[in-house]
Symmetry: C2
Subunit: 278 residues, 2 copies
Amino acid sequence: LLRIGPFSQLARVTIKTLRFYDGVGLFRPARVDPQTGYRLYSPGQLPALRRIRLLRELGCSIAEIQVLTSTSPQSIENRLQAAGLRRRLMVAVALAEQRLRQLDALVGPTEAVAHSSLPLIERQIAPTPAFTLRDSVSSAGGDIHGMFEVAEQQVALLGRRAPCSPFMLLHNMDYHRPRIDVEVCIPVQTEALGSAGVRLVEPIARAACVEFTGEYSQAPALFDAALESLEGTGACLAGPIREVYLRFGADQRGYTLDPQCLANDVRQYRTELQIPLR
Amino acid sequence: LLRIGPFSQLARVTIKTLRFYDGVGLFRPARVDPQTGYRLYSPGQLPALRRIRLLRELGCSIAEIQVLTSTSPQSIENRLQAAGLRRRLMVAVALAEQRLRQLDALVGPTEAVAHSSLPLIERQIAPTPAFTLRDSVSSAGGDIHGMFEVAEQQVALLGRRAPCSPFMLLHNMDYHRPRIDVEVCIPVQTEALGSAGVRLVEPIARAACVEFTGEYSQAPALFDAALESLEGTGACLAGPIREVYLRFGADQRGYTLDPQCLANDVRQYRTELQIPLR
DNA sequence: TTGCTCCTCACGTCACGTGAGGTGGC
DNA sequence: TTGCTCCTCACGTCACGTGAGGTGGC
């Protein structure tokens, strides 16, 4: 059993949210220590909480979720309700897209400015087995660097490093926030699938790709420019954005990397941005 | 100058919202009667309010809108901000679509149930000049019938009725709400374009169409079924849904309709549902 | 006079977040 | 003992909505 802190990190919700859900009776801890009042959660409760969070993000109110999750999950009513959710979300998406068009009309024809010659290349990205570590970090600091250090050390212990570039998934698809939801990925050999922390990272059917040199802080602006230049094409974002580190710096404490992919000077760093489209 | 009530109807916002915006200084009435305290708005303020509402629906906070609308609308910062909005909305849409897929995965493969043989036909719909009347009405009552009566009477006065079926646009794209945003449309001859209340209703490049017989109350369920049966196709809702009244009842007070499109018995009503797709 | 609209002011709502003041565990 | 985590309780936030109690205009 986990205390509220570790459990909240696993579930990617705040402690405050867990206490709130306990208070309204939506999601209760597995056990409450009668001495201390500490809430204790079991990892087995994660799927239930994930379902609740999904429904919230789909626009359900707490009261609706109470109803949906209190009845047997296999009941027909439940499925019908789920169908209603589908419709609701489709409608929400359609309304959002309509507003997008209204916004474009309001701002006026985005002259040729944005459609400058950004060297966007469309590619397919193959599925990749990788050791991954996911966390919500400050977009400012060097937290991601630390995560890569830990991940490389773990892979070194595993002894199945694949000779490919490490990369990162940006799950919230948006650089412009104080905190971002990132998953750092170290490619490993296929045989390592099944080890703890290793998963098959999904392929991308259609990715718009750009490379850049130097500081990582350029990525957000480049991402914006890429989205802008896709404006008239009707393309939509279709999943987490990836940053692939072609040449980068590393501490190499407890592991060793191929010197070909390393650079001492930030100005020689080389990174590719991959934007999944539909 | 209009009092708050009529202005709120024109702008499709509540009186409470207008008072709230006045209170926080976001959107002020053109004049306030010093005697009564009555707020007086000019129709010329409508575009500004529409812009504010659009920004709200795009997810801007009141504070952000204050900043965006206080500077000159042509300033470069403003356009950049608008670009940021574009990104924000694209990201929101992508996240929503991702959740849609998660939902489908959660509910499990929607067996062959929904994909039953709904006779959906894809068609193009031509642009149509029409006299239109738009309002937010209760989805339960017969308010829409009343709107059609008024509209037909107006068109009779105009004397340019086109021999086509009247129809309705459901702007919120969702039947399942207490109040719906509808625009009733009476087709008129092209020459009537320019008369008050007459506009060219947009074409639909791709519409999924179904006809049904009898009570209008069947439309919501049919709409749901249509969306469900489109599930695997990747199609998205692309605009307001239309109901076309092929055969229907009418009071004909002050106007006369072609008997071919009329039915005395509800059971002989004939309606087509047109769902714009992308 | 009636019925409708408008006013202000205070409080409610929704899903949490913030912060104070205090305790438990290593 | 220190530093960290946890607790409760009360209040704050955001963008309005609700309702009371009262006035203006035809």
